[in-house]
Symmetry: C2
Subunit: 392 residues, 2 copies
């Protein structure tokens, strides 16, 4: 993976999680980077989310470092604000950054006090370990119930050279689209203003993180940060901004798909395509309704081409459509035509549904131009096993 210029990374085990696996990560930019971020829309917001908002305002969108921990969400905690602030202050001191240029992010259990001493004690080692290749170590340190680390990169060729974009993210439960979902960090060495980054991030989030669901639960800690430090020396021309945005979208959609594929207990990545809705929002609502239906997701787990559950879930999405105009395909096989059963070989389709990737096309006939793509996973006994005992 080719990483953007001008960033260093480190990870260590601070003792926040019970198992001795890295739980603390640090991302540092060589120069203060332009930054944009999106956060959870849950009414209950973790201390680091509130702190990030304040710091981005105070720094006018400049970020020098991001400290991130797994194992504790630092949410609904007495000492949350103080702990988040103390950790950022310590990072700032060690890296000679104004505290407002340090962001914090946390993921893990809610409602358990976080011990800042563990983090402060681990900081010297964390900073000493910084180098420009340890991107994958941070991606591993932020994993909770994730089975695989999630990272991807893209290069964008501009007239005067190439800029790089790299992103990392985590899953795997409490995943539901509301602005941003989970944690995600996307870095580029292009030179962009915070205002440009905000526009790019908002649009890219809409087609990536806002289009995935694992279980319909939105976390209290969701944070996606996009940094641009300009270390490539390249500032995209006005007519090249679109290309950079495409690169960011590619990285973020890939990360989002990785989250859905590694949903808790999931065996299959499910892609839902909706077309022919009145507008894009209506299409997204139908797609989300299908993606959130436990009955659709368990049917996929059982390789059962039970399209009745798909049309029923769409019917609950709060969007008006005529069921007799609906065509549904699963794995390219028509299963429903005009709202009625299509003729298909059940056994052949069952076999196709055993694949690790499933595609559902839900099309409303007519003149509607609204389209949406949405990613989710199948719903297996593994999800229950993981979540009936996650905390203990």
């Amino acid at each position: 993976m080719i990483l953007p210029l001008g960033y260093r990374y480190s990870a260590t085990y601070a003792g926040i999680r019970n198992v001795a696996r890295d739980d603390l990560g640090l991302i540092v930019s060589a120069v203060p980077a332009s930054a944009a971020a999106v956060f959870t829309q849950n009414r209950v917001q973790a201390a680091p989310v509130k702190l990030c908002r304040r710091h981005l305002r105070a720094s006018r969108g400049l970020v020098g470092a991001i400290l991130v921990n797994a194992g504790n969400a630092n949410c609904a905690t007495r000492t949350g604000d103080r702990v988040a602030l103390a950790c950022c202050r310590a990072v700032g001191r060690q890296l000679k950054l104004p505290i407002s240029q340090v962001l914090a992010a946390s993921t893990g259990v809610i409602g358990v006090e976080m011990d800042d001493k563990k983090i402060l004690n681990a900081l010297p080692q964390l900073v000493a370990g910084l180098n420009d290749t340890r991107f994958p170590d941070v991606a591993r340190a932020i994993m909770t119930t994730d089975l695989v680390p999630k990272e991807t990169a893209a290069e964008v060729a501009l007239a005067r050279g190439t800029v790089r974009i790299a992103g990392m993210t985590k899953g795997s439960g409490m995943i539901h689209p509301q602005m941003a979902t989970t944690l995600g960090f996307v870095l580029t060495d292009a030179r962009l203003t915070p205002a440009e980054l905000r526009r790019i991030l908002t649009r890219a989030t809409e087609s990536s993180y806002n289009r995935i669901s694992v279980d319909g639960d939105t976390s209290t800690n969701d944070t996606v940060v996009l940094l641009a430090n300009g270390c490539s020396g390249l500032r995209p021309a006005a007519n090249e901004l679109g290309k950079v945005e495409e690169g960011v979208v590619t990285v973020m959609e890939t990360l989002a798909r990785m989250i859905a594929r590694d949903g808790e207990g999931a065996n299959k990545l499910v892609t839902i395509h909706v077309a022919g809705a009145a507008n894009a929002d209506a299409a997204a609502r139908i797609a989300r309704g299908i993606a959130n239906s436990p009955l659709v997701k368990t049917a996929i787990a059982g390789s059962d081409p039970n399209w009745g559950r798909i049309i029923s879930a769409a019917g609950n999405a709060g969007v008006a459509f005529d069921p007799s105009k609906v065509d549904i395909e699963m794995q390219g096989t028509p299963v429903c035509r005009g709202g009625l059963a299509a003729r298909f070989s059940e056994s052949a389709l069952k076999q196709k549904l055993d694949a690790p990737e499933c595609e559902i096309h839900f099309t409303i006939r007519g003149k509607g131009k609204g389209q949406a793509r949405f990613w989710t996973c199948d719903f297996t006994e593994g999800y229950i096993r993981i979540n009936a005992s996650y905390r203990t």
Copy 2:
């Protein structure tokens, strides 16, 4: 169980479901009964739902018989309307009722053509089997993934005598509150007008069927019918209507709780009490948000007092509240005070959570008067097992 006067019941196996278990039921009133009904709000509606609406309009709220089948939802089918009508016409002919006084209800798989010959062939036997004690046989015939039949009754003492109310219903999946959920039939021998019944049913549905969830999926076939045939000879006085409504509410809340308790794969009935919200609607939305969270429901399955998931789910309900004013109790044990962890014995509470009934109290401190009660079940591997292979 003391049944209301003037109703007869029958059930038989018509061959609609694969296993030889009664799948066809009939409820007949000795005289045309006043009727009210509520139906699913899914955009995709089964043929019998559409037929019931038409018949209730045409008959001005009079019903002589209800034909109900399990094993096929008669939804998204080419022949659905014709089949539902043919069945009602045959029942009307055999019972000498106008076709508009016959209702039909179906539950089962969506998108598979229903063979009306099976039903028409079984009708003579079904009608021959009618008597005034076979209420439980119909309750059993409408079961799908239900483990137990669901029936309950109440008596209401009026000034000049007693009237009786009996109800039956079914679960166990695609259960989510939207007007009515699943199938429910509530019968009384009080004399009431269709308009009175509609008012009673609307209010009673709000506090019963609209307050349960198993999996957040709303069926295409949900139907709850309330009949009053007057066979007790008693017409409640104006000031006694409230007592009758209370009786109906008691019966419907009991049925609703039975559905939640017997949710697919469920081991536990979970009752969620919300208090202190701005108004009743806000309270209901918070309660529903908690009840629909897979993470809360899996934690209950694992007897894990993970209150962070409860406050996070409430935060996603789309209702404004101050997290620092929230108190949460599980099984009477305070687990969260003012949005923060309370001190409690985890092992003692885990043991309490092993009980077959769990109570969650979510209280917002302050002057809000909004309250709501909501029933759901825990979420276990059994749900997945059942639904990954329901159709096949």
